[in-house]
Assembly symmetry: C2
Homo-oligomer: 526 residues x 2
């Protein structure tokens, strides 16, 4: 399949004229054709106008029509076939198996949201019936449903060119909510983006939806993305990327005449707590598993284990020895972009020469553009004193903090910034000590896991891929799983509205067959 | 009951030393004793430290204990007896019947949230069980519950000295969620505030809760309130007041190192749309009902009908005539504070002399400090051109916009800022035209009502007292009704956590008897 280097503005494919973007193969530095032109302010205006005009129609599509649309997107993405995987490999340096898995996840997310839409629970339909006889005042008839916020701006991520990008979780959940979507493609994978964008654009046409339901823009700098967030027709933002990028969008959104929610998933070091008995019984096993989690996908996961907290001593040395042995077998890996590799190499170099840091292990070295895994250690005292040791190093680097006791581990947890995940490695006799640290962890993270690592984010109903700032901009939300749809909804209440004017979700006859709350109590569907 | 002029910092009553606050009787300008001292930065520090230290304990009280606490607050407020009503009348100028009703509403809200806590649905407990046999990867065990955000700052409102103040909806819903609360009292009713504050402080002691669960501060200026919002231990803000005050807190919260959600209910003109057939059949009846809604409580409701949109013509004149006749019988009314009266009188005067505005009716004049109702009209053209005609006049003033046709009504709705409510007056033959305007209304308001007025906000499960900016800071929320608890919660997910370490809400045996979602599907409680 040929790559058409176009912006997708509603039903049209438009050559961008505002600067040029090229994909670069991170494995060899090769510039990939074709060149993509950036969107102009006029392109942006057209995409926003189309999205706005599509909104009232798209948000009142039937649940079945909207679910079928999401499924059609999934089918159209699969129909691209191997061309998508090949292009994505070239643009990201990620291996085939990983990208085939990620495509499966992307398609699975779209289908999950189709099921969520069909079930209709996201509408949160509620009815408090009138009580004309109530004293001293009659009670009115009050009904509630969620409606979508409006057009949503989605910023594709570098590290998941499929699952957190043009057709990823933000887009799927916003479309499921009933919001038109304008994607600002990540410049590292323009070809992948336009292939997926075409699949969505085609699905819009296949399903007879208003063309403004979806647009895809490229930005050769930052101005178009910023103008997108500032446009009055945009009512929410989804973003996955750096802390700097996310906080910049937060500030733009807060400075608007009408501030809007930003759901930015940004930065996390995902502490791993190794408890004494777990280390005593299976330090080697945990060390091996850690090395595997650390280096998965060249460490380029938001949930990569970047911090190890443990009581210093011989069992921790056994863990380090096992991790060191495992890491020595791990080849260096191509990173997503030359820029990401450059940042990683610089951060690792700074840690290697840091007065308070010891290099415990390295992965194999490789080509100059490849990331070499690194395991460091420091003392609790140094870690608590040195802010530069507490930030995220995006890639396969992790820092062990040697603590004198578990109380110090707890104190460090109390001082951590917000995180996506925390992992506890415990045996049964550790539970009592673990329980003392759990409250502090709950206050700081979105997901707590036991005897595992945070990489591998299940797409389900009970998943929270989120957490307090700065892991995300809004700890009340998740960007993965069915609950992600809630980010793009708000409630509207209808008082004494005649049945014929009520939305179907709230009509007396319940034509959608929804489970609805009657005076607060959930009634079965149907 | 004597009024103790103290800050309440946890279990202590402390004399404030940072400036002086006096209640003023708005009916006669009399300064009310005693004088209240403002909180110092050190008082604030102590309140925040206590709230933070209380959080982990308070948030893990049993559902029954937390519900009993809310009910105890209600009992303690009632136990103040008539002293509360008498003091509140003196500080607010509101009549006895209104304040007795508001006390009933306040107590009712606390009891509603007790029931919400007992039911436990707010925890949103979810379980996606492990699937060890799943291919290609085993599925982990994933469970989710909501936890409270942390200590909440509540700013009392001037216009509901009981129901939206120290023990009002923000406090009740935050405490129900499991958040300690620090209230910054409204300076217009310090005596009322400390009486209610004492009732809550006593309930904390009665129930054996950590003292930091509740504190009450006075602020002789703005610095303490601002420092409260900026304190790192505060994790959310509830506010009811002016647009200027609310947006200032929004900017403070967004500028924090860790931005936090602000739930500010600010400003709304609550458009009323009069449709042709409704006017034709019952213009006089609607005009009378409108005059009553406009002047209820001296017009000092967030949901006061400040804007009338209708097609110009003889039927609209009949509406105006009836409203004029009704208003001429309405006595001037004491407003909440001299400052509010001053602002109202100035805004009315500006409209009276505005070149594009006609004075259609006035209420009776009264004493110099009393608000005199006012009904104005203008043309659609002038309204759309003049921003000064589109803002809120807090008090019993309303503006009729004479529109040439319903399409102009729809266009004006499209140009309105976000609103708490919109009311449609329709007969059956108006439904078709009303349906054309409903989508635009849904996008702009939190509550749509038919053949009524927005005053009178039912406290139920289907209520939305909220709406897009600037009616509130966050259109995804409601500050009235059971859903208000959602503002102070965030989800945490637990992966492969051993049963003994799981919170009760998620344990296998379901000891709380919750309705929980199993793989996304709600299972009956028990």
């Amino acid at each position: 399949m040929s790559i058409s280097a176009h912006l997708l503005i509603g039903a049209r494919a438009v050559a961008g004229t505002n600067g040029t973007i090229h994909g670069i193969n991170p494995a060899n530095g090769e510039t990939l054709e074709p060149a993509f032109g950036g969107a102009t302010p006029d392109d942006l205006e057209q995409a926003c106008a189309l999205a706005w005009s599509a909104f009232d129609v798209y948000r009142e599509t039937t649940l079945e029509a909207r679910a079928a649309f999401l499924e059609r997107i999934a089918e159209n993405i699969l129909a691209i076939g191997d061309a998508l995987i090949v292009r994505c490999m070239a643009e990201s340096g990620l291996p085939r198996a990983r990208l085939e898995g990620e495509r499966g996840r992307t398609v699975g997310q779209l289908r999950l949201f189709a099921a969520v839409v069909r079930a209709g629970d996201f509408l949160d339909a509620r009815i408090d019936p009138a009580q004309p006889q109530r004293q001293p005042l009659a009670r009115v008839d009050l009904r509630l449903r969620n409606i979508p916020l409006g057009p949503v701006a989605v910023f594709g991520a570098s590290n998941f060119p499929l699952a957190f990008s043009v057709g990823g979780g933000d887009t799927a959940s916003a479309l499921a909510a009933g919001c038109p979507v304008i994607v600002k493609a990540h410049s590292a994978h323009p070809g992948t983006s336009v292939l997926v964008g075409r699949a969505i654009q085609q699905a819009v046409a296949d399903c007879g939806l208003p063309e403004g339901t979806f647009s895809l823009l490229f930005d050769s700098g930052r101005a178009i993305g910023q103008a997108l967030v500032s446009d009055w027709r945009i009512k929410a933002v989804g973003f996955t990327g750096s802390r700097g990028g996310g906080t910049a969008l937060m500030h733009l959104a807060a400075a608007r005449h009408e501030p809007i929610p930003v759901y930015a998933e940004m930065s996390s070091i995902n502490p791993v707590l190794l408890f004494p008995q777990a280390l005593a019984t299976r330090a080697e096993q945990i060390g091996q598993a850690f090395a595997a989690a650390l280096t998965l996908g060249a460490g380029q996961f938001c949930t990569n284990p970047g911090l190890i907290l443990a009581v210093d001593g011989p069992d921790l040395e056994r863990f380090i020895g096992a991790a060191e042995a495992a890491l020595s077998d791990v080849p260096a890996a191509t990173m997503l972009t030359p820029g990401i590799h450059h940042s990683y190499a610089g951060a690792v170099q700074a840690l290697c020469t840091h007065a308070d840091v010891t290099v415990e292990a390295r992965g194999q070295s490789g080509a100059p553009h490849q990331g070499q895994a690194a395991l460091f250690s420091t003392t609790a005292q140094a870690f608590r004193r040195r802010a530069e040791l507490q930030g995220e190093t995006f890639g396969a680097a992790s820092l062990i903090v040697r603590c004198p006791d578990l109380e110090t581990v707890r104190q460090i947890v109390e001082e951590l910034e917000g995180q996506l995940t925390a992992a506890l490695h415990v045996d049964e006799s550790d539970y009592e000590e673990a329980a003392k640290i759990l409250p502090a962890l709950e206050r700081r993270v979105g997901r707590i896991l036991v005897n595992g690592f945070g990489t591998g984010v299940e797409v389900g109903h009970a998943m929270v891929h989120g957490g307090p700032f700065p892991s995300t901009s809004d700890g009340r939300s998740t960007s993965v799983g069915s609950n992600a749809i809630a980010r793009f909804l708000r409630p509207v209440s209808y008082q004494d509205v005649p049945d014929v004017l009520l939305p179907d979700a709230l009509k007396a006859a319940n034509p959608l067959g929804l489970a609805r709350r009657l005076d607060g109590s959930l009634q079965a569907a149907g």
